[in-house]
Amino acid sequence: MTRWAMVADLRRCVGCQTCTASCRHANATPPGVQWRRVIDMEFGEYPDVQRAFVPVGCQHCTDPPCLTVCPTTATKQRADGIVTIDYDLCIGCAYCAVACPYQARYKAPRATFAYGKATAPETARHDEASIAVATKCTFCVDRIDSGLAQGLVPGVDPEATPACVNACISQALAFGDADDPASNVSRLLASHQHFRMHEELGTGPGFHYLWDVADDDAGVEKVS
């Protein structure tokens, strides 16, 4: 089976938001709708302070709460793990938005543009179907599907890879098939210590965060 997954190496991420911006480009999302974004987290008390930058977005969970609550079946999940939204079925009730523990879903109530009136690229790429319905990261599913059709490898060949992964300037983001032990993501997970966000909720995210090399030593810091 194929299970697409994203890996974010928190040791590498510098919070530059290049992935945030590239996602806005690739998906032509309206202002403020950041399917991929990086948050800035601070821990501790002066002078013992740490700070981390964390890419977030739809986790494409194995057991997505959004799918359970969606009243219209607009939210579905593919066999390869990608959670999709059929804009034409969605009624824009935003139930999925409050069901998502990762704050990954957006509903733009009306079309808005960067400088008020639409500019030429915004006009060219405006998709009315995506207004007033739920939207979220799709793992750039169109790129994956068209890439696969051409025999390309998602996560390796840029044309078949999500835009955020392509754009990342610290190589923090990786994408691939977690069910293939030889894939880039599988090898990263095997060689590093990692966790998933809000693991205790049982959503089974398809998004993994690396924090250290794999090591059996204890004596590494945990956040209290």
Partner: protein, 280 residues
């Protein structure tokens, strides 16, 4: 909008969503209480009409919040897992049976009450299934929302029924019991949340809880007062109406705040901090 790591108040559902739970909760609670009360005649008609009106108003609120209201019928497509689909499927049945009851079909009354209970249950499950909001997804949210619905229904009954002269001790006691139950559930619910919520969300939940408690304790005082103190019919009717009103307003305020002020998500958390080059 700032998407920080700390929890922030959800903005997907606003007063219109709260309106659904307020109208739907109070309306269905009223329908249940009215059926149990055995109210007859014009009182029964007024109560049922008010109940259906509140439910319908709530649904209209939700319709106003939908991004694509013209597709609203799609809402029933996922009864397999979605409590919203189930609630939406029950709604026409509830309104229909309630209308029948209004037109005098006797058997429609318990049917409508049963469907109202089901509708209330669905609403509570809708909120609890919102896994993104810790205050909502707590298990006690379900009984709390059911009980407050029933309490608000009882409150509405007591707001109106005294004017018809239809008051029984059992129903007044039932109102009191519901108030106590709502208060106790609220305290238990808040205690559970106090163990897991971060300070700001907890503060907001606390404020919502104050509204609920005020809406339970003040009427409870009146319930006990009326029981214990001999009053003229005029005075007791007025006090009973007041108690009913406060009970309803307390529940409504609680639900309004729960959705629009105390609906914090859980932000983001890192169980491990990244190692930057070498371990500390």
């Amino acid at each position: 909008m700032s998407f920080g790591p700390n929890p922030w108040q959800q903005t997907s559902w606003d007063a219109r969503a709260a309106g659904n739970f307020i109208g739907g909760g109070a309306g269905s609670g009223l329908l249940v209480f009215s059926a149990v009360s055995g109210a007859q005649g014009s009182l029964r008609a007024v109560l049922i009409a008010l109940a259906l009106g509140l439910v319908a108003l709530g649904l209209l609120c939700v319709l106003a919040e939908l991004g694509r209201p013209w597709r609203s019928m799609n809402v029933i497509f996922n009864p397999r897992t979605s409590w919203m689909s189930r609630e939406a499927a029950l709604a026409p049945l509830l309104l229909g049976s309630g209308a029948l009851a209004l037109f005098g079909v006797a058997a429609a009354v318990p049917l409508a009450a049963f469907l109202a209970l089901g509708f209330l249950y669905c609403q509570a499950r809708i909120v609890q299934a919102a896994k993104g909001i810790p205050a909502w997804r707590d298990l006690l949210t379900v009984p709390l929302l059911i009980v407050t619905g029933l309490t608000e229904g009882a409150g509405l009954f007591w707001l109106i029924a005294p004017s018809w002269g239809q008051r029984t001790l059992a129903l007044w006691l039932a109102f009191g019991v519901l108030l106590v139950l709502r208060f106790v559930l609220g305290v238990l619910w808040f205690r559970r949340l106090a163990r897991s919520l971060q300070p700001r969300p907890l503060q907001a939940v606390n404020r919502a809880g104050h509204a609920l408690n005020a809406g339970s304790l003040l009427p409870l005082v009146i319930v006990l007062g009326v029981l214990a103190t001999p009053l003229t019919p005029g005075w007791s009717a007025a006090l009973q109406a007041l108690a009913g009103a406060v009970a309803v307003l307390g529940g409504a305020a609680f639900k309004f705040m729960l959705i629009t002020r105390a609906g914090f998500n859980q932000g983001f958390a890192l169980p491990h901090l990244p190692v930057r080059g070498v371990r500390r």
